[in-house]
Symmetry: C2
């Protein structure tokens, strides 16, 4: 396999100011075409550290993909570091200069000196076009190993990766006749990691020269099968056998045989397939469930609207919840959740209604109903199904988990209807 590493340059990553989403994106795309991504390294905008870490990664892997430190400001020093590492000089690249000029002209902006300097590039590198910004990418070759430097701004990096770098990597893999590795992810809900492991048994008994990983989160446990082989066909055949075995053991918990599908998207397909529509009335999740449904392209086929009823007044006025019900049982109660679900279904005249009401905190909790108490109800017009949950103590987590629980309830209902 083509061994690669990802080197992210930028103080903002090191000090934890931002999450390194670039590394994940690059790793996912490169893994999918058969690269073995061995190392992710994040370092500061420090010339000596850049040179020494690049040197280390070039010894350990065939190719290093760099992002970051190519901006027009003085803290960006990836280009001079590469120039020193490859013992090179900067020369003006007329094509890049013209394209930067065009970039500014198109936007009606004045091009300033520090932007023009971005057209100064190491003489030994192949320049990679940046279609979304002014910092070009660079490709260096040295003793049969490669270094590719891309900008750190996600949209620029992503475009450069997809429009040029991945094609270059594919060609290299073919040229070198490298092995590939294939992965498959099965997603489960409603079951703990240790129970899954127990039911599936010891991987040694049914996997040879492959891997099975358990990836737990509050959204459920994912199972990832991996096999290496001469080509994707051979690897996938070995994956299929293991997949069948796992399915026979824990198939009832699996909602997707791919990592590309979210529970949200599985539900979307089920709703479209069954020609069902859904409306939501949300209190503590405050629009998250609606935003989640509308996140899926084509969601207008089954989700046409929702009401965020954050205050009691919004609950009574917009979702017609009886104010006596709120007085008698409290806003966070089985009765109010079911009323929200039933009424919002009727208002929109859809097939299902979901009502969510809870205490997301940090205030509003009591000993009887502590922060984290959430009632979720699902109505199909005839019946209401409701459940009470305790979803932790932190506002953001409570809201996220309430969303997942509502989706789980809807998924189960759709499977059985």
């Amino acid at each position: 396999m083509l061994k690669i590493s990802i080197l992210t340059i930028g103080d903002e990553i090191c000090i934890g100011q931002i999450v390194n989403t670039n590394a994940r994106f690059i790793a996912e795309k490169c893994t999918a075409i058969g690269c073995d991504v061995l190392f992710h390294s994040s370092i500061k905008d420090d010339k000596e550290i850049i040179k020494s870490d690049l040197d280390r990664l070039l010894k350990l892997t065939d190719l290093v993909l760099i992002t970051g430190g190519l901006g027009p400001t003085s803290d960006d020093i990836t280009k001079p570091a590469l120039c020193e590492y490859f013992d090179d000089i900067l020369v003006k690249n007329q094509d890049v200069f013209d394209s930067i000029s065009k970039f500014f002209a198109k936007r009606g902006l004045k091009m300033i000196e520090r932007n023009a300097e971005q057209a100064l590039l190491p003489s030994k590198c192949k320049v990679i076009a940046n279609h979304f910004g002014t910092a070009p990418g660079m490709l260096f070759e040295s003793n049969g190993k490669y270094v590719i430097s891309m900008p750190g701004i996600p949209i620029e990096m992503k475009n450069m990766l997809e429009s040029y770098v991945l094609g270059f990597l594919k060609d290299l893999i073919e040229l070198k006749g490298e092995d590939v590795v294939a992965f498959k992810v099965l997603q489960t809900i409603g079951v703990a990691e240790s129970i899954l492991a127990e039911k599936i048994g010891d991987p040694v008994d049914f996997i040879e020269n492959g891997t099975l990983a358990f990836l737990p989160s509050y959204k459920g446990v994912k199972l990832r099968i991996g096999f290496g082989a001469k080509d994707f066909n051979a690897a996938n055949q070995r994956i299929e056998k293991v997949e069948s075995y796992i399915k026979s053991k824990v198939g009832e918990y699996i909602f997707a045989y791919s990592d590309d599908l979210s529970l949200n998207e599985v539900i979307s397909s089920l709703l479209i397939e069954r020609k069902k529509t859904i409306a939501v009335a949300e209190s503590c999740t405050g629009g998250l469930l609606a935003a989640n449904f509308t996140d899926v392209p084509g969601s207008s086929k089954y989700f046409l609207g929702g009401i965020v009823a954050y205050s009691n007044e919004a609950k009574t006025k917009l979702v017609k919840v009886d104010s006596d019900l709120i007085k008698q049982h409290g806003a966070v109660s089985k009765q109010v959740a079911e009323s929200l679900a039933k009424n919002v279904k009727q208002i929109f005249k859809y097939d299902f209604g979901i009502g969510i009401t809870g205490i997301a905190g940090p205030s509003g909790g009591s000993s009887e109903k502590p922060v984290g108490t959430v009632w979720i109800a699902l109505s199909d017009g005839k019946n209401s199904y409701s459940q009470k949950f305790f979803l932790g103590e932190k506002r953001a987590i409570i809201r996220e988990r309430a969303l997942v629980k509502a989706l789980e309830m809807l998924y189960k209902k759709l499977l059985n209807s």
Copy 2:
């Protein structure tokens, strides 16, 4: 300064299946107490790689913080790797065994062998309690350097970091009499990175032995000032001088003098301070704006409800948009955006109303109104302010950017009202 590195163990990070949010969290917390986080490294669940990368990082830094690979399944091998690296043996820890037993008893679950094995721990380590799961943390000391191993599940890691590890690090910094480094972030909106750099001038002219970084994203450009000193007081004094200088140059674009505050939270404070309330009617953002407002604790003071009017029917029925208006101008138009804003304000009787309507794609675009076209309107009852945007081609990005643009419009309105 206490030099530390973060070592994340797990194939799922290397192959890009998940984003490494743990590393960011750890880096942010450790930076805040004065650590110099020099390296983030993510590697596979491979015993030899774990040992060699740990060795490298221990040579480069004073302390290595490890996460991941402590689960109960066979792919988790951090513990045996550490055991080998420190030439140690596993022994049963009765306290941990009891706490794991209690963990299962409390949840009414059966404790199985692979969970019990989590109580087997290296004899040389100090055990760190895990209050949210079954895998304990481990602290090793070796030749004046330290290794701390924590679970990879975010909630378990976060609790362990905050309840024990940060305190340990603070004590160590004091014990060693290390320097600290302080950072301050100024957040801007409505201005490009290169223009900011031009207005501010060359940092060499006003910063000595410190750093100024420009961090651009679609949410605006952040400016990060950094200074090292004997203590936080001294470092902060130097930061203050630079901050005043920058404020005098580009103060008009700065909406927050901290990285802890989002634009959303700044708006929240402004709304509360001015005793203003807001209602939203969203089409293409489908609940994102409502979810965003309700994400802030205390948002019930100014945000009491909203309507997700995804379909034309929801727009006319729930937000009372004139259906002729939609016929005449299309659902994505200045007129419909303004009607959504004005009507939702009236329905809720709040001070402001925001209406968003756009084409998030992938379908629904035309040559006249391509995917990415979004109209956003803000109504204060008397007047409506509306703006047309082109926010890219990808659904998720269009939605996110529409959210930011709506917040920007509201922020400017609040500043001037």
